[in-house]
């Protein structure tokens, strides 16, 4: 997943991945698990006035990018569409931090002579198990 294509390296926290309204929407949804567009709008509007259409557009865009998921219940007048985050805030930030690391190194090129995360994803699980055993052995010895 992810859906994040542009990073703002000079920003901090969520602002690195989202515009300010997107970040506020994501914070609101993470705080409440599942919310309708109207509920999100009501909460944001309490902080500062904002149009319902704007919130709707941004939330639908987040859904298209795979960051939010929507589920619909009921029929006719009782029909209700709720939005929830695909990942928890912690999962999202952990994944993005990893992506940013690789992005940084790719973008900044070979002046980076060595980086400890180099090709970590290609580590052989069988070898890692051997490493775990070796470390346990060394720990017991000391």
């Amino acid at each position: 997943m992810s859906g994040i294509n542009n990073y703002h390296l000079n920003e901090e926290g969520l602002q690195r991945f989202f515009g300010s309204l997107q970040a506020r929407i994501m914070e609101t949804i993470w705080a409440s698990d599942q919310l309708s567009i109207k509920e999100v709008h009501a909460r944001l509007n309490d902080e500062s006035p904002i149009a319902l259409n704007t919130v709707m557009t941004v939330m639908n865009r987040l859904e298209e990018r795979g960051i939010l998921r929507k589920s619909t219940t009921g029929r006719g007048k009782n029909r209700l569409t709720l939005y929830s985050a695909v990942q928890s805030k912690e999962q999202f930030l952990a994944e993005q931090a990893k992506t940013v690391t690789h992005g940084l190194i790719r973008e900044f090129g070979d002046l980076v002579v060595a980086h400890m995360v180099d090709a970590m994803e290609e580590a052989d699980p069988a070898l890692i198990q051997k490493l775990e055993r070796k470390l346990m052995e060394l720990k017991q010895r000391s």
Binding site: L9, N10, L93, A94, E95, A97, K98, V100, T101, L104, I105, E107, F108, G109, D110, L111, V112, V113, A114, H115, M116, V117, D118, A119, M120, E121, E122, A123, D124, P125, A126, L127, I128, Q129, K130, L131, E132, K134, L135, L138, K139, S142
Partner: protein, 291 residues
């Protein structure tokens, strides 16, 4: 200092330079010869057209191919150097904007004797790297510092210190230029890859020797693999193949520090193809500039 069982990275580097500079020298000869014999017209375009038509009608196809390879090589080398210069400026700006002054001051004071600048950037990513050509520096992120114990951090610093002392930034860049410029000679790619793995093995071995233990550097690697979240353990069948990447050789070296870690240098096919290509280049040069 070298990963046991492999030729020293400096020997591999020497081989890359020997082949690389040999080819570049031949290319220069050819280029100077062609330019020297060109008929110069009143405008650049007319001269270029004259040069091209002469080349295509009056010369052996082998020479044309060699000259095309020469153009490609210089284009790649100049392009990579320019991209790197831009990247260098970006890094410098990024460091300045994200420096964690307090942590940096404490760490630089603790390692003053090393005479290597250490930069700490406020970033949740896990970064540990060596950068800079003239005066190499170590860069760590606050995300990495949060993840590691004091001993593990020291192992990382020792690993990076080795890169700084060996000036791997400049050497690796030169090898990368060769790989970009004359990577169509496959042995250059094989040797370059071997060099990149070799310097990581050597840096780990240096850290292990200095700490008198392989525990810390092993523990760092394990934490980074877990942090990356890619490690899901061996599958039900246990049939996961060894991936031929630096991290696997590094783990091997830690698991069996007394056993040689053998990294394949170049296959017989690679050597044969490279020998044929180098011979063809020499033939093209002799056709154009007979002794």
């Amino acid at each position: 200092m070298t990963g046991k069982g492999n030729p020293s990275p400096n020997v591999v580097l020497g081989a890359v330079f020997l082949i690389g500079f040999g080819v570049l020298l031949e290319m220069n000869f050819l280029l100077i010869h062609h330019l020297g014999n060109a008929r110069y017209e009143s405008t650049f375009y007319r001269t270029a057209w004259q040069f091209l038509s002469d080349l295509l009608t009056q010369h052996h196809p082998l020479e044309v191919v060699f000259l095309a390879a020469t153009g490609y090589t210089f284009y790649q080398i100049v392009g990579r150097s320019a991209r790197q210069a831009v990247a260098g400026r970006k890094w410098t700006r990024y460091f300045a904007e994200h420096a964690d002054a307090g942590k940096m001051e404490r760490l630089n004071a603790a390692y003053r004797k090393w005479n290597i600048p250490i930069t700490i950037v406020r970033d949740p990513s896990v970064l540990a790297l060596t950068t800079g050509f003239i005066r190499p520096r170590i860069v760590l992120s606050t995300g990495l510092i949060r993840l590691l114990s004091a001993e593990e951090l020291e192992a990382v610093l020792l690993h990076e210190r080795y890169h700084c002392r060996q000036r791997h930034t400049v050497k690796k860049f030169a090898v990368q230029l060769m790989m970009d410029g004359i990577g169509y000679i496959p042995i250059i790619r094989s040797l370059g890859r071997h060099y990149f793995i070799g310097i990581e093995l050597s840096a780990d071995r240096y850290a292990m020797d200095q700490m008198n233990s392989s525990y810390e550097i092993g523990s760092v690697l394990l934490k980074l693999v877990r942090h990356n979240g890619q490690y899901a353990g061996v599958g039900a069948g246990g049939t996961v193949h060894f991936a031929d990447t630096a991290v696997n050789y590094r783990i091997e070296q830690i698991v069996n520090p007394d056993q040689p870690v053998r990294v394949a240098l170049a296959s017989a096919k690679t050597v044969a193809i490279s020998a044929i290509l180098l011979s063809l280049m020499l033939a093209a040069l002799l056709l154009e500039c007979p002794i």
